[in-house]
């Protein structure tokens, strides 16, 4: 998801942003983040990268409002220029596509906008440049044909954008700020990709940066060369389409370039031919719960920028999100208006049922609350410092942003934290928690981790007799019987610790906590606990 901001004045050259229009934007499926006197900020959801540019956004809005419905067509000419993609490229970066736009007028606001579009496409569709990079160059200096090829990092020498002097490819990765930011993408490659023109001048080193001499856009620029390079042909094609039509929408004239890939595939780019999709109106009506007529689709689909004729939808090339008829169905619904839909509660006879685990949890909570115990609800993650007093193989999450980094192996560890945090609150503190704990699973399960549903009861100030009374009462009320045998357990007082056995299975532990554990946990009161695995009680 990306948030983009547009100049309000620029938008209002096309349409005034009244409260009604803002409501329409939301009902078009575009959340408005903020609308101030100067800017309109919108959220662009990942399915609609065509809305990342102001022109793309306006194109969608104007057709939705019924002012310019239907599939937008752009005049395209052939530049007769060629782009060769060379086999010397690193295998990690095999594709390149490019086209030309003439008759563009770049003032400072437009340059800012095109840079925003380039960045947002880079961070969303191109996944922070890991999937591809985009470059825009003044056309004037370039001699065709252009070649995209791989060169040894030390053999590449040019002056990077906004730099004083020339650098080699390898120097750029270590010295230039943009080079350092994206070095992780290509530093391990055997060759670095570069664009060179017919006179052997280096245009850029994708996906890192452009040459200052060949690739700097200014307000004097009237014609541009646009390229996208990367890992996936289809994605690059979409990116170029969105860029080219966005500039065309601003009055630019699109010229294709014949792009010849390593596998000899040739295509004139951009290819703005609409895709055709046959749809089944009955299926769509069944899915949406509507009874739309053919005639209505002829009105609704153009509102979403499509052409529609005889069950066939023409999908604009920039609508890269349409994979299936279901996507068309949603657009029909948006055009129809979510606010016009009547919610309906169907009378389908099915039998509702609480899970046995929830039922059991509810009963146990009721029994324990009846004894005056207070239920707590703690995080499933614990801190390493809390865990170090217990030895178990702990399961750790990667790159946690907080100090909670381990999955809890029992409910005692979080309870000790709760006691410490409540040491100045009123005593006695008689608590219980029912929750999931995580242990490594020796059996070959799907995840290698087993989850158990545990019950912890802890009283403070409390002693063995008190928790045994609670365990006794609980098992009587559940109609179960258990046995206790002396055991030793880290953190518990020897001689006052019992293993709880049920059906010949050891299911838990009961006892008084050792003063050493209590002191280390920053707890000042005598505490007794039992913890057992509820899954074994069934």
């Amino acid at each position: 998801m990306a948030i983009v901001s547009f100049n309000r004045k620029e938008i209002e050259k096309t349409i005034k942003l009244t409260p009604e229009v803002l409501e329409c934007i939301m009902m078009l499926g575009i959340p408005v983040e903020e609308c101030t006197a100067d800017t309109l900020s919108i959220q662009v959801l990942p399915n609609r990268p065509d809305l990342l540019s102001m022109n793309g956004f306006l194109r969608a809005l104007m057709s939705f409002l019924g002012k310019k419905p239907g599939l937008k067509k752009y005049k395209i000419q052939d530049s007769k220029c060629k782009l060769y993609v060379d086999s010397s490229l690193p295998k990690e970066w095999p594709y390149a596509l490019a086209c030309i736009i003439k008759n563009v007028h770049f003032d400072d606001a437009k340059i800012r906008e095109i840079i925003q579009l380039q960045e947002k496409l880079g961070s969303t569709m191109l996944r922070e440049r890991k999937k591809g990079g985009i470059g825009i160059y003044p056309l004037d200096n370039i001699s065709f044909p252009v070649t995209f090829k791989g060169m040894h990092p030390d053999k590449i020498v040019f002056r990077p954008l906004e730099s004083e002097g020339e650098m080699t490819g390898r120097q750029i990765l270590s010295r230039h700020p943009t080079g350092r930011t994206y070095a992780h993408i290509c530093s391990s490659w055997s060759a670095f990709p570069v664009f060179v023109d017919a006179k052997d001048k280096i245009l850029s080193m994708p996906p890192i940066l452009n040459s200052h001499e060949m690739g700097k856009i200014s307000t004097a620029t009237k014609e541009v060369f646009i390229e996208a390079t990367g890992t996936d042909y289809a994605t690059l094609n979409k990116v170029i389409t969105i860029l080219a039509t966005s500039l065309a929408e601003a009055g630019g004239q699109v010229y294709t370039i014949e792009c010849i890939q390593q596998n000899k595939k040739r295509e004139n780019i951009p290819n703005l031919l609409p895709r055709k999709m046959k749809i089944d109106l009955e299926q769509i009506n069944n899915l949406l719960g509507l009874s739309l007529k053919e005639r209505e689709l002829e009105k609704l689909l153009p509102k979403m920028g499509y052409d529609y004729q005889k069950s066939t939808v023409s999908i604009p090339a920039w609508r890269v999100d349409v994979l299936h008829q279901a996507d068309i169905a949603e657009d029909i619904l948006i055009a129809y208006g979510y606010d016009r839909l009547e919610p309906e509660l169907p009378r389908v006879a099915t039998i509702g049922e609480e899970s046995p685990a929830s039922r059991r949890t509810g009963k146990i909570a009721e029994i324990l609350a009846g004894l005056g115990l207070l239920e707590i609800s703690t995080y499933h993650l614990i801190k390493p410092e809390e865990a170090k007093r217990f030895h178990a193989p702990f399961i750790e999450v990667e790159n946690a942003k907080t100090e909670y980094k381990l999955l809890r192996p029992n409910l005692l560890i979080p309870a000790l934290r709760i006691f410490a945090e409540n040491k100045d609150n009123e005593y006695p503190q008689r608590l219980f928690e029912i929750g999931t704990v995580f242990i490594q699973d020796a059996r070959k399960s799907e995840t290698g981790i087993a989850e158990e549903n545990h019950l912890l009861v802890a009283t403070s100030a409390g002693n063995f007799t008190e928790v045994k009374q609670i365990l006794d009462y609980l098992s009587r009320m559940l109609g179960l019987s258990y046995t206790l045998t002396q055991t030793v357990h880290p953190g518990f007082i020897e001689g006052r610790t019992g293993a709880i056995t049920f059906n010949n299975k050891r299911i838990g532990i009961i006892g008084e906590l050792h003063p050493e554990l209590l002191r280390a946990s920053n707890h000042k009161m005598p505490t007794a606990v039992f913890e057992l695995n509820l899954d074994e009680l069934v």
């Binding site: 939301m26 009902m27 499926g29 959340p31 990942p46 609609r48 890991k130 996936d232 289809a234 069944n286 719960g289 994979l323 299936h324 169905a329 949603e330 619904l333 979510y338 839909l341 919610p343 309906e344 509660l345 169907p346 099915t350 039998i351 509702g352 049922e353 609480e354 899970s355 685990a357 929830s358 509810g362 609350a369 004894l371 005056g372 115990l373 207070l374 239920e375 707590i376 609800s377 703690t378 995080y379 499933h380 750790e396 999450v397 990667e398 946690a400 942003k401 907080t402 999955l407 709760i418 945090e421 609150n425 009123e426 503190q429 008689r430 070959k444 799907e446 995840t447 290698g448 981790i449």
Partner: protein
Amino acid sequence: MKQKPSAGIEEILEQLSPLERKIIPFLSSPLKTIEKKAGLDTTSVLRALRFLEAKGLVKLETSTETIIELGTNGIYYKKHHLPERVVISVLEAHNHLSLEEAQRLAKLSENEFKVSLGVLKSKALVSLSNGKLSLIANKEEIIRKTFEEQLIDALPLEKDNLSPELLFALDNLKKRKDIIEIKTRTIPSFTITELGKKVAGSELKVDLLEEVTPEIIKNWTRSKKFRKYDLQTAVPRIQGGKQHFVNQSIVYARKIWTDLGFKEMKGTMVDTAFWVFDALFTPQDHPAREMQDTFFLKDMHGQVIENKIAALVKQAHETGIPGSTGWGISWDEKEATRVLLRTHTTSLSARTLAKLKSEDLPAKYFAIGKAFRNETVDWNHGFEFYQTEGIVIDEKAHFRHLLGYLQEFYKKMGFKKIKFVPSFFSYTEPSVEIQVFHPEKKIWLELGGAGIFRPEVTAPLFGKPIPVLAWGQGFDRIIMDYHDIKDLRKMYANDLKDLREKRFWLR
């Protein structure tokens, strides 16, 4: 002379507890006297006075007094003399000593000795010349107790009772370490009201009954009368055991779903990427699958057991299903075996759908469970939260049914006005975002998403495309709103004081 009480006073008299009765005859005396005469301790007398105050018979007042006591060093010095007296004694034995010698003989710390010297000089008792310390005052002056010594002997005292000399000494000693301790004490007193005077002057009935005892029940006669209680008297607070407030609201929500004919799904919080992402048609290069958003588990390697389904999922991602182009990017099973904490409860729905057979339809399932995101923690963010999840699998299910179920649920959760706006999730199409109107705050709250599962999800899991209405909204915000909790961290802080006072979920 005792008077016959008037009607209002009669009532008061019948309400007097035994404790109050004990002190009423002595209300014209000061507190200490009452204690003695009534034979009660201070606490009991004060309690009785508070009861009487509630009846308007007396007015309690407090004043404070400042008490000067000895500190730890003060107690020591009272026994072993102030350091300056020790220095004088040393000099009396050996006049004209060097500073070092004087200090050594006096056995004082550097600090004590320095302070003593200052004190003695300011009182013109000693002088220092040519490095020698000498007594310069006459015998009488030397042996006379200083004001400071007099004060120490006399403590504890009330500050208001100190003479100007002792007050001066107090100021001096206060500057020195731990000699003096100053405490304030509140002193209760009371005045008797006009009503109180009347009651005190009335004759006290002595035959009122206090407690009901087995004997009284057995021997009950109509002529007896019970003392009346003052119903306004505050009683000590008690606390009860109860379920955590989050779980109370979950129990309620669970009831809504089962009433609507939904079966509960249970499953693990730890799962493979396959069930959390891949089975839900989330492309393998989707940003949500990166480490900064998801808790992957270190050194854990899972496996994809459902090989048949996995093959279909792979196909859906790479080339699509009939009628769909798929993502067109290659699908790697290894990526799907990464082990993680589920980022949404929709993994449960995916697993349920994979187990379902055609003859089970129509079917409706729900779950309320924790989901996890690798987030920082602040008032607005947390790394785990509850979701309420639901699916309806029915050939005849459609989008307006989805809105119907959601509207019904949120109505029962207390939100009358609900709005649906278009949204996007990679596994549903059409998708919808639910907003509810908050009647007090007059704002729309965004509660989360829903939609109909894409055929790219249902075809591999169920075996053929089928409409599956699906939703998974955050649940914590509703609870926060109900209990007026502003800070997300308070949800799972388990402050026992807060938990004990928290009211029940009453919907």
